[in-house]
Symmetry: C2
Subunit: 228 residues, 2 copies
């Protein structure tokens, strides 16, 4: 019985790691679909939703059963509770990647992103994918040093978002209202994706150290829009 | 011991109810601050952040201790796990209300919302406040019928958001890019606020019935932007 329990607990951790990889892939492909107006790739990302939803549902079910049947304590209890939070963050990251893919699908065959904005969206995509990958490593290796570094990388996303808003609100912006509205929402999706990756890392810190059970688990959100 | 435990469990429920009231007030005041360019009211909403954060932290701490020390089962276990989810949703609702207040502050003394858009924002505010109030009732009365009705009201928010995007993307829109970008993000905040209120109600359904432990707890998000 004990052994089966340890196996289920370990599975729960692996589950989170696999979901990190899936969300990373989803955001990478969604960004590619967006930048290349690639409808087939967008559809493929959108279809991945079901898998992340059912992975979250399974993980929650396992976590709940472990609580009910095994009454874990100390590190094991933190591992179960953390897993419940982490899969919620990861499902949300998947949903945000899918929002990006849906923007690509909605405007197809038109391009959503004007040429002058492409480099910033590309970088936002890269930062988001990197954060998801790093969150996966933090989770697998329980690496606290890496967890703390994620916070710094998240600042990059906020900087990119500010850059984007400065571009859109400048008098030289000649792409009109529609693309600006799309880009404002897209940048919000990337920003929130990054926030959730940082939240995953923070939950691992709690898992390992017991610090901040209900502490500051929601990363500060950037002040998205420059004064104007 | 048992008695103290029941008291703590009941406190956890009251905690959620109180947080519902706070987020409802926060969104009502934030919307008023936005529509009236009322800086003092906006600052007051922004200051309420700290209280919601610490209430969430306390509730998580209590929930974690109950799991560790009492190993609850059945309905009690569902109540503890639900409370952890519910306070997270409520903290997020508070954060979204604060985003609305920050938009008012950022543009002060200018008005963020052009005259033609005011009625829709007013209605989004009212729907959001109503959903938070209803979620509080669902929580206090464990009222499943009311919980199910919240889903329908959430559709209203999606309709309002679509109306808003239709206005902004019409050729007659003459308020420029800046207000459109602000409004796009604001409408997203209202929409997500409503989604989290529905999520609270769904967690109460789980608490009472045990259905959907890891099921469909994230409401479907509306297709925010019309085809154009």
């Amino acid at each position: 019985m004990r052994q089966a329990y340890q196996v289920r607990l370990a599975d729960l951790g692996d589950h989170g790691y696999l979901m990190c990889q899936l969300t990373s892939t989803a955001l990478r492909d969604a960004t590619k679909a967006l930048l290349n107006a690639d409808l087939a790739l967008a559809e493929q990302v959108i279809a991945s939703d079901v898998r992340l939803d059912s992975m979250r549902a399974n993980a929650e079910q396992v976590a709940f059963e472990l609580l009910a049947l095994e009454a874990p304590v100390a590190t094991d209890l933190r591992a179960v509770v953390s897993a419940m939070w982490i899969v919620a963050d990861l499902q949300r990251m998947g949903a945000l990647a899918i929002h990006v893919a849906k923007a690509a699908r909605r405007r197809h065959p038109a391009h959503v992103i004007p040429v002058g904005v492409r480099p910033i969206i590309e970088r936002m995509g890269r930062v988001g994918v990197h954060l998801a990958d790093q969150a996966g490593l933090v989770l697998r290796e329980r690496n606290l040093e890496l967890a703390r570094r994620l916070e710094v990388e998240d600042d990059l996303m906020d900087d990119l978002q500010r850059e984007l808003f400065t571009l859109m609100l400048a008098p030289e912006w000649d792409n009109g209202v529609g693309p600006a509205v799309d880009i404002a929402l897209l940048s919000r999706f990337y920003e929130r994706f990054a926030d959730h990756a940082v939240a995953v890392a923070r939950r691992v810190v709690f898992l390992v150290t017991g610090e901040n059970v209900g502490g500051d688990t929601t990363p500060a959100e950037g002040n998205y829009a420059p004064e104007s």
